[in-house]
Symmetry: C2
Subunit: 175 residues, 2 copies
């Protein structure tokens, strides 16, 4: 399996009939601000990495984060990206995805927006869309209620064949 071609996919925001649109860009600068507010040390490298995460319009893997960070300040190292991501994970400020292992076991990160959203990936073209739904909120509430638990994180990833691919390749249609 050639893990060489990292097909780039675009995250398409979508207004659905019942799902509502999501816009993560509206919170630009949120990570930098929150980290500072929490009294965490703000180094040059952190500032750069946080800015990259804040400005990202889609989920990024560590190499993409490093690449973008270096365009701003070449004095950022991969290890620091890992350590900063660790920090943000522990602070609950970013979400970690693996997109159903569609492209290897890489992990993807994105700033945790105000509301959870679902990632919907096409197994053929690799396009990833986001989806937000009241049903999803209800589902989490149901889990909290039924188990008497306090839900703090959730991740939903859905795979299948998108409308475009179904139109192009009739053999995909089955169920």
């Amino acid at each position: 399996m050639p893990s060489s071609v990292p097909r780039r996919t675009s995250a398409v925001s979508h207004r659905a009939s019942t799902g509502e649109r999501i816009n993560t860009a509206e919170t630009t600068g949120r990570l930098q601000k929150t980290v500072a507010d929490r009294g965490l040390r703000m180094t040059r490298q952190r500032r750069v990495i946080l800015q990259v995460m804040d400005d990202a319009e889609q989920h990024l893997d560590v190499d993409q984060i490093l690449e973008r960070a270096r365009k701003i300040d070449s004095d950022v190292h991969l290890v620091t990206v890992y350590r900063t991501i660790d920090l943000l994970k522990k602070q609950g400020l970013i979400d970690e995805l693996d997109l159903l292992h569609l492209r290897g076991d890489r992990h993807y990160y994105e700033s945790h927006g105000p509301r959870d959203h679902i990632h919907v990936a096409c197994l053929r073209c690799g396009k990833v869309r986001e989806f937000e739904s009241r049903l999803y909120e209800q589902l989490k509430e149901q889990i909290a209620r039924d188990f008497g638990m306090q839900v703090t994180v959730s991740r939903t990833e859905v795979g299948g064949y998108c409308a475009e691919c179904l139109a192009l390749d009739a053999s995909l249609r089955s169920s």
Copy 2:
């Protein structure tokens, strides 16, 4: 972070007020049968690994699969476990989880039952429960409808603090 202590967690089937109980054990032998039916070669090692997956009452990682397989037939190797899992993934017969990376980046596998279920993990004690809900089915239908897509796989993992841990450790309560 010591990756040494693989805390063992038990998958607890649960009858919820609105979620319905799930029982994967009822389909014992299903993998062995399906693989044979599809005309795939049935080697000694495959038979053993499939039996392990069929008999598993919970998700297992590769090492656990290997360990159990060797108790039946010591002539099974890790690479073969990986290759067989690959086969089963491609055939859509098993699900791959990572349980929110609660215990490192290991992957867990389980026979894909008749209906999807959600994995609900406690971030404190590590206990993982399964949950099935009509809301979840509705959610997937909504996605299929809104995007015009054919949904073939889905994975939902929810983390938080379970009732027991909340009772034991009041400091967990926040939101």
